[in-house]
């Protein structure tokens, strides 16, 4: 099955009971930050570097974190590092597909035929996401995979909510063109 990280993954468990504020508030979102970095940089080494840099910046700017939305705050830092340091805004051609590091997604109990067709669908969804321009890709990943609200996405990507909605709509239209036969897009398609 799909590996879905909880909103507060195992960092929290590993933390000492007396864990300090930074550890309690920011570190639970390390996995979310790494996931975003993986979809933006599309390779593990850059994603790790980006998250390391983001943690260092987060440590430095921690005193400015006021409200409770540490996840959007940390994702904002991760995204900024990805876009500035790793040139995510360029449409690179030397792209390593994100599925290289992906988990085994198929349930062994499935019939061989059904399993094969599911695998094909999953591959097509990944390819379709891969082909989206970065700004549309990050919007749809934040929304559908990381369950961010429109407001959170607006914070993270530093654009108005209206722009977020327009990007999501464009992303869905593009995905619908590619995946119409395997995904139900409702009235978008």
């Amino acid at each position: 099955m799909v590996r879905r990280a909880d909103k507060a993954p195992d960092v929290k468990k590993a933390a000492a009971p007396q864990a300090g504020r930074f550890e309690r508030i920011v570190l639970p979102h390390l996995g979310a930050g790494f996931t975003l970095a993986m979809y933006l940089t599309r390779n593990t080494a850059d994603a790790e570097d980006a998250v390391q840099e983001a943690v260092l910046r987060a440590v430095r700017y921690f005193p400015t974190l006021r409200d409770d939305d540490a996840r959007a705050w940390f994702l904002t830092i991760v995204r900024r590092v990805c876009f500035t340091a790793y040139g995510t805004h360029h449409q690179g051609t030397d792209v390593i597909s994100i599925d290289a590091a992906g988990p085994q997604l198929v349930d062994d109990r499935d019939q061989p035929d059904a399993a094969a067709s599911r695998l094909q669908v999953q591959q097509r969804v990944r390819d379709a996401i891969d082909q989206l321009p970065p700004l549309l890709r990050e919007a749809i990943v934040l929304r559908e995979l990381q369950d961010c609200s429109y407001t959170e996405i607006a914070t993270v990507t530093q654009v108005p909510v209206g722009t977020v909605m327009s990007r999501l709509s464009r992303a869905r239209t593009r995905l619908a063109e590619m995946l119409q036969d395997v995904v139900d897009f409702g009235d978008v398609a």
Binding site: A19, Q52, V125, I140
Partner: protein, 223 residues
């Protein structure tokens, strides 16, 4: 009747949600503990940051007296010696500590790995406009581990890496633009820094080893 999944379900079933690699997570926990330790013990250093917002600081620190002390003793606690601390120095020391911490991550420490100073020194030639003295201090307890180029605070820096028992010392070297100020030591986020200037070169030693160790290192190095 449609059995097709909607987009949310299709993406959730097709796209991995990653967890941070274990090494990265452990490293981040160490960073967090360092900053959390410091914020408890050394609150004025947080408050002395120019971008700090008193409101958030106040919200989680009940000791209002510390806040007042922080406002008065600007920077005094985070950077020694007290007084004469400038935001420029604070930015430099912060960046040096970041560079040091980054260098401790797997595969980031060394560009040229050698305990032989005759290998390390030529390696810098052509890569930087300075030629730092490369001395092996193994007999004094500071074995040379290698060298690296880095970019800190607007300088391209030659970096020599020395060991000290289980600790690493990053020695950043760049051309001095400020004459020859007196040697100074700093403590930032649990790391020690020692700065000295000799022969037109500015040296910054950064380590998690104790300040006294850095002084011993400097004495061995400048001899």
């Amino acid at each position: 009747m449609s059995e097709l999944p909607d987009l949310h379900k299709a993406m959730a079933e097709s796209l991995p949600v990653y967890e941070a690699p274990a090494a990265l997570r452990m490293w981040a926990i160490e960073q967090a503990r360092a900053v959390d330790q410091e914020s408890l013990r050394d609150a004025p250093s947080l408050a002395s940051m120019p971008w700090v917002r008193a409101r958030s600081f106040y919200k989680w620190r009940t000791a209002a007296g510390l806040l007042i002390a922080a406002a008065v003793g600007w920077g005094a606690a985070s950077l020694r010696p007290a007084g004469g601390t400038t935001p420029g120095i604070s930015a430099t020391t912060n960046q040096l500590v970041d560079a040091h911490v980054r260098s401790l991550l797997p595969s980031h420490l060394l560009d040229v790995e050698s305990t032989d100073r005759h290998t390390v020194k030529p390696w810098f030639a052509g890569k930087t406009d300075i030629a730092p003295p490369v001395v092996d201090l193994a007999d004094k307890g500071f074995p040379l581990l290698g060298g690296r180029l880095d970019y800190v605070d607007g300088h391209s820096a030659a970096v020599l890496i020395y060991g000290r028992r289980l600790h690493k010392i990053n020695l950043f070297v760049w051309r001095s633009t400020t004459g020859e100020p007196p040697d100074r030591s700093f403590a930032v986020r649990g790391y020690s820094l020692l700065h000295w200037t000799r022969g037109g070169l500015s040296y910054w030693a950064v380590s998690d080893a104790a300040e006294a160790e850095l002084e011993a290192f400097r004495d061995a190095y400048v001899q």
